[in-house]
């Protein structure tokens, strides 16, 4: 299946304004053929199927996908935070720290991994409302985190905490001594983001940072993350079901479907020159707000696949208007179609954003 590696680059199919493959910036995280499984009463379920992903130092990468696409599972797998009953069945995740040392996060011994967590790579969780201990004050959470990583200078920690709280636009006086339940959802989300930066990690993972928040609060979070990225130089992976968030924040976008990464490209490539029918389908289903004209939208026919009962070949073929026999037989690998634009589609050269082809398919097949 996913035997796509960097060797399989198809050379020179670039359009002029596509970006140059970047060989100078070091890679911070390199995920290779990662498989993650969950145990269910009806057997093992593959939530991530052979994901391969290279992330450069300093980049902001968006992992985009719908429910069941495996995007959060992949995020959790990096930090080895998988739920009970889940395991990394196969694969590597090579992390290279700022001193140039590389190690595989999958096989790193537990003791070293505990040190790695948060000081090298931190994460804020979806529903950050619940990610703070309800019986612990905000300041204690910060203090304990610092202490767990050998920092015991109270004053220093407090100063850093206050500074971070200010950076995420919170009133430190109000938040520092508060219990989580005394803060609003948006405030707790910002506390979590501040907490994730406490130990100056190189890599920060945000899992659905704006989900379940009001729109104006979402905007505030987006702006906070943007500002932080400008001020502090960290690599960002964020996981979201919201394409617009990727458009706003990401340098590169990885689109996931049915546990596989189906497209990985620079943000402008993803949105203006998508090479995978699923990405196209998603883009055609999201309306813009601005503008005074009506934008027709088309849905992707069918529904997201059952991970316990995946279709053969390409996981997207039952919903794809381009699918042919080869798609039913063979799962396409993630391949470079030029300009560091990776896609996993047999028919990537035929893919266009023309909505008509989708409408035709919708008309032909019954919507499920």
């Amino acid at each position: 299946m996913s035997d796509a590696t960097k060797d399989q680059v198809i050379p020179d199919a670039r359009i002029d304004d596509q970006e140059e493959p970047d060989h100078t910036t070091p890679t911070i995280l390199s995920i290779e053929d990662m498989w993650v499984e969950y145990k269910t009463p009806h057997g093992w379920l593959q939530a991530v199927r052979g994901a391969t992903l290279d992330i450069k130092r300093g980049e902001a990468v968006a992992l985009i996908g719908e429910s069941g696409s495996g995007k959060s599972t992949l995020g959790f797998a990096i930090l080895r935070m998988l739920a009970r009953g889940a395991r990394i069945a196969k694969g590597k995740a090579i992390f290279t720290n700022s001193r140039g040392e590389s190690y595989d996060l999958v096989t790193l011994p537990d003791k070293n991994f505990r040190e790695f967590r948060w000081s090298e790579c931190s994460m804020t969780f979806q529903a950050a409302q619940n990610s703070l201990n309800p019986v612990m004050r905000v300041k204690d959470t910060f203090w304990e985190t610092a202490k767990a990583h050998g920092k015991r200078n109270h004053k220093e920690i407090d100063e850093r905490t206050l500074d971070l709280l200010r950076k995420v636009q919170l009133d430190p006086r109000r938040v520092f001594d508060a219990y989580p339940h005394e803060l609003s959802g948006g405030m707790r989300q910002r506390v979590s983001i501040a907490l994730s930066l406490l130990l100056e990690p190189d890599l920060v993972i945000l899992d659905e940072p704006t989900t379940a928040l009001d729109i104006l609060t979402q905007r505030a979070i987006i702006d906070v993350v943007k500002n932080l990225r400008e001020q502090l130089d960290f690599t960002l992976i964020f996981i979201s079901h919201d394409l617009s968030l990727a458009a706003e924040l990401a340098d590169r976008v990885a689109t996931m479907y049915g546990g596989e990464i189906v497209e990985y490209a620079a943000v402008r490539d993803t949105f203006y020159r998508p090479r995978h029918p699923y990405t196209v389908g998603l883009l055609n289903a999201v309306p813009p707000i601005v503008g005074e004209e009506f934008t027709p939208l088309t849905a992707i026919p069918g529904s997201t696949p059952n991970l316990l009962d995946m279709p053969s070949g390409c996981p997207f073929h039952p919903r794809c208007p381009y699918h042919t026999d080869i798609c039913i037989r063979e799962d396409p690998p993630l391949m470079d179609v030029g300009g560091n634009h990776l896609t996993a589609c047999h028919h990537h050269d035929k893919v266009t954003r023309d909505p008509e082809i989708w409408e035709r398919m919708t008309a032909e097949e019954a919507v499920g």
């Binding site: 719908e66 729109i215 458009a247 309306p287 813009p288 707000i289 601005v290 939208l297």
Partner: protein, 350 residues
Amino acid sequence: MNEPLMSLQNLTRTFDTRGGRIVAVDNVSFDLHKGDILCLVGESGSGKTTVARMAGGMLKPSLGKVLFEGRDINAMGKDDFKSYRQAVQIIHQDPYASLNPVQTIGEIIRAPLLHHKLVKGRREATQRVAELLELVDLSPAENYIGKYPHQLSGGQRQRVSIARAMTLNPRMIIADEAVSMVDVSTRVSLLNTMLKLSNELGVTFMFITHDLSVVKYFGWEGRVGVMYVGKLVERGRTPNLIGRSLHPYTRALAAAIPEADPDLTRSKEKLQLRSLDIPNLNALPSGCVFHPRCPYWVEGLCDVKSPPLVDVGNGREVACHVVVRNIQEGGNGRDLAPTSEELRTSSAAD
């Protein structure tokens, strides 16, 4: 014009909470004619769902009336109320909670048909169930009739909810965040299904959402009302309102939403608010409820007097002193001067 199908007149709803009485909905009025699509937009705490529940007869208003075909639903006789109840249906947000987990899809849809004797016998019932499932694009229907809700995807479940709502041939459907928990790729087809009901069967829709982009698609032919902390702050025809919103709150909302277009979204003009916090319903600000967050507020006016909803022409109404004054002075209502910096800081102190 002829009599509206439903008319909400000065609806107000208060709740008593530990922190005192809160006004969840404050003096909201609008009419819906047959075949209308009305979208109510607002964030949490805006009172949009409370309006929906009052319109659906699930909650009694504290003040004001809900008129259905000219008659107050809360003063109706038993028979009239029965016919109102069957004519107005609600579709809920959560596709996981809105279907009874222990009944099959067939049982769920068959029940109202048999209870109200709309069909004779089980065979006709099954046939009608199949028709309804096909109506909401669940076909072939045999694939779904025997399934339990947990065996369907979120979008499919939401379709079952619509089919169930259609059993009694309702004239109006209140959709309360009906697509907010459905995957992006299938959301549009669900909206299309509902648009089909509106276009082909003339069903009136009251569509509650927090998402302006969904409004733009679903409510393009209809009207929008924007709610903020219990009040209607702006309303008008969708094309007018979405592209050229007037009320600073609506503008902030439209500007805050990221677009699925990197160049556009990064260059989009943002409206900087003065405060991030939604006011506590227990301690609403004086005057205009939006003034503590509004970049255009005028001291001595906005913090004193609550603005009424004013018709500014072109079928648009807005509740904002500053915008109305600007238009009266010949402006377009959008080129407003932000309140000066000193004023902003002095107000932040209180």
